[in-house]
Amino acid sequence: MSVSSRLLERPHTLAALLVLLASLPFLVNPFYLGVVVLGVIYALAVLGLYFVMGLAGQLSLAQGAFFGVGAYTAAILSTRFDWPFPATMGATVAAGVLVGVALGYTTLRLTGHYLALATIGFAVIANIVFLHWKPVTNGADGIAGVKPPVVGGFILDQNFFYYYVALAFLAVGALVGWRLKRSRIGLAFLAIREDQLAASTTGINVLNVKVLAFTLSTVYGAVAGGLYAHGLTHYISPDNFAFELSVTMLVMLLLGGQATVPGAIVGAMLVTALPEVLRFLDRYYLAVYGVAVVLLVVFLPQGLWGWLESAVARRPRRLEGR
């Protein structure tokens, strides 16, 4: 790979993407503001999936459930125990670590389809728990009145301000993801993705590294869930975290480009916004949306960002040839 082909992997690109995201609230109308807040929150969850799937190559279909675990952790602590926003967000990290380590060590000896099935199982079980553990989760009625963050006496409940709260989390998450890919741990993830056996012969503790990737994904998912509970509607219910959400998040990652940080972000923003942008098509949007997804998967198997990377990589080569 030439230097030029890694152009889009340069930190400038990530910085430019974050600047673009930071300017979004000024560019969209108030209706789309709600959509982009949701997009940024989903992007953080999808970044989690980028570690476990994009880098370490393990198919996880429970990201929506981890999102739900974080949302319920934040909502319960905020409404029942009056914990402030920073404390509940800290608790979502703890919840993510707990779920990641516990689930990781029990399921990550499995590979391929079996691991996917185990994560599906967790997603379904988590939703049943949200729905039926009424004394804690308030069952199907969900939890209303999750408090927004307060900074210096100002309540950041409007989407405009909450967007920047969410974006700050995404920026930190993206930087960590960016750095990690280029670190020894990132290389270990990639080694496992390419060949587990070969990776183990080079001294990588496959299980521990996989659990680390998995835990990163659960932490990102849970923190994003916490952000979801505190913002937008301040209300969560089990139907928000159904299995479909995990599948949607997977689609977001695949469409954006699974092995890059910007890809995860672009995919999440795009898939969140698409149904709203296509609203003018009325009932027919689902058909158009479905066809668009199929076309993207068929013609851009590396995702939008992967396509962009190869497009950029092709251009300088022509320049060099002159």
Binding site: V3, S4, G142, I155
Partner: protein
């Protein structure tokens, strides 16, 4: 190396441009400080004392009054959303043919909520920010309304709903009005009727595990236990296709009456068929989704003899008959409850607007004072915003349902 870094810097520079341009445009809102309050309004009248609709309120222009609709046009409950749209289209056409409301042409702006909570919130945001509506006809699903409640209150948006979870109007802060009886009434009526008709010792409950189904099931369970009847419950998830496990388990309990509290009619028909396949002949008494037109269209043969406590019954009353005939003529099919309450909400809003003019606060006050006769019966709001307390016991016969008795008489007086 210079060649490669330049595009990166260029991108940064380009992206900073919109930031710089828009930074000075004054689009930054002011953060909320605790304790912000809203003002009140008075009915809009002209010098002769006649109520008029002045421009200025959200959704009111020189010629037009915009009403938003947040409905499930796609997704799991798309069939009921389609009926809602038909019913509202017809109501608005009729209103506009007779001069609109206070001389304004009524425009209904539909926003699909995709049958999900985030979708309902997006549709609400679109109605408020994009379409700038005066009032909203909201969803029939309780969790969707719960997800919307904070925004409805902060936007002070008068919202008419069909969702029946008992607490919704109370949480609505005076902005939410409900046009169907709350689950607390329907659930009690199911048990009251079952006791009167079958004197059961055991009652089985099959319910959707969503807010609507589990809320209704909890009311049935409490009412039955209070009457000394033993109860066994089983739940399913909206859209399930196989109910044999739940039905077998409930059959082994040996119930005298089978009760159901289902959210979607699509699900009712599937478990009705499986009930028949399992040879269960226990009488069934359930909630309103049994007798929707969607149920009859999908599988009336499985529902014969089933009884339901409903707030809407086709051809009950003169208003209803006239409406059903017009609907049948216009669309070639029969209307059902997914459409009836929206029609009633539209005419109820019309009556209130004709008292208040187009001032939102005055309109909210007027909603508490008007009375109309709708397709669901006599409508008038209580303090909380519950407009409809009409309930009937009906039984499925052929491709429709017949009224058995007035269920409100079975309930203890409120």
């Amino acid at each position: 190396m210079r060649v490669q870094t330049r595009p990166g810097r260029l991108a940064l520079g380009l992206l900073a441009v919109p930031l710089l341009i828009t930074a000075g445009c004054g689009r930054v809102p002011t953060p909320t400080k605790a304790g912000d309050a809203g003002g009140g309004g008075h009915p809009q009248v002209d010098s002769a004392g006649k109520v008029v609709c002045r421009d200025g309120s959200p959704g009111v222009t020189a010629k037009e009054l915009r009403i938003g609709v947040d409905a499930e046009l796609t997704g799991k409950a798309a069939l009921s959303g389609a009926n809602a749209k038909r019913s509202l289209d017809m109501a608005v056409d009729d209103i506009n043919k007779t001069g609109g409301i206070l001389g304004k042409h009524v425009t209904v702006v539909y926003n699909d909520n995709q049958s999900t909570n985030p979708g309902a919130v997006n549709a609400l945001n679109k109605s408020v920010s994009g379409d700038n509506v005066f009032a909203l006809i909201g969803p029939i699903r309780s969790t969707q309304v719960q997800a919307m409640t904070e925004i409805i209150k902060s936007q002070r948006l008068p919202t008419m709903i069909g969702a029946t979870n008992a607490s919704l109007t109370e949480q609505g802060g005076g902005y939410i009005f409900r046009f169907r009886p709350p689950d607390s009434l329907t659930g009690q009526a199911i048990v009251a009727y079952a006791r009167k008709q079958f004197s059961p010792k055991k009652i089985a409950i099959l319910h959707d595990s969503d807010a609507f189904g589990s809320g209704g099931a909890a009311v049935i369970e409490k009412a039955a236990k209070d009457a000394g009847i033993s109860v066994q419950k089983a739940s399913y998830t909206t859209g399930d296709k196989d109910y044999t496990a739940q039905l077998s388990s409930l059959r082994s309990f040996g119930p005298d009456v089978f009760t159901t509290y289902a959210t979607n009619s699509e699900d009712v028909v599937i478990f009705a068929r499986q009930l028949q396949e399992l040879g269960i002949t226990t009488p069934v008494v359930g909630g309103p989704s049994i007798t929707s037109q969607v149920s009859f269209d999908l599988g009336q043969q499985y529902l014969q003899g089933w009884r339901a406590i409903v707030d809407f019954q086709l051809n009950a009353g003169d208003v209803n008959k006239a409406w059903a005939a017009e609907y049948q003529q216009r669309y070639g099919s029969k209307p059902d409850l997914f459409g009836a309450w929206q029609r009633d909400a539209m005419y109820f809003m019309k009556a209130a607007l004709e008292k208040s003019g187009c001032d939102r606060q005055a309109f909210l006050a007027a909603l508490h004072t008007v009375e109309t006769d709708g397709v669901q019966g006599h409508l008038t709001s209580n303090k909380q915003g519950d407009v409809n307390a009409n309930l009937l016991v009906v039984q499925v016969r052929g491709g429709g349902a017949e009224v058995v008795e007035d269920a409100t008489k079975l309930l203890p007086a409120a």
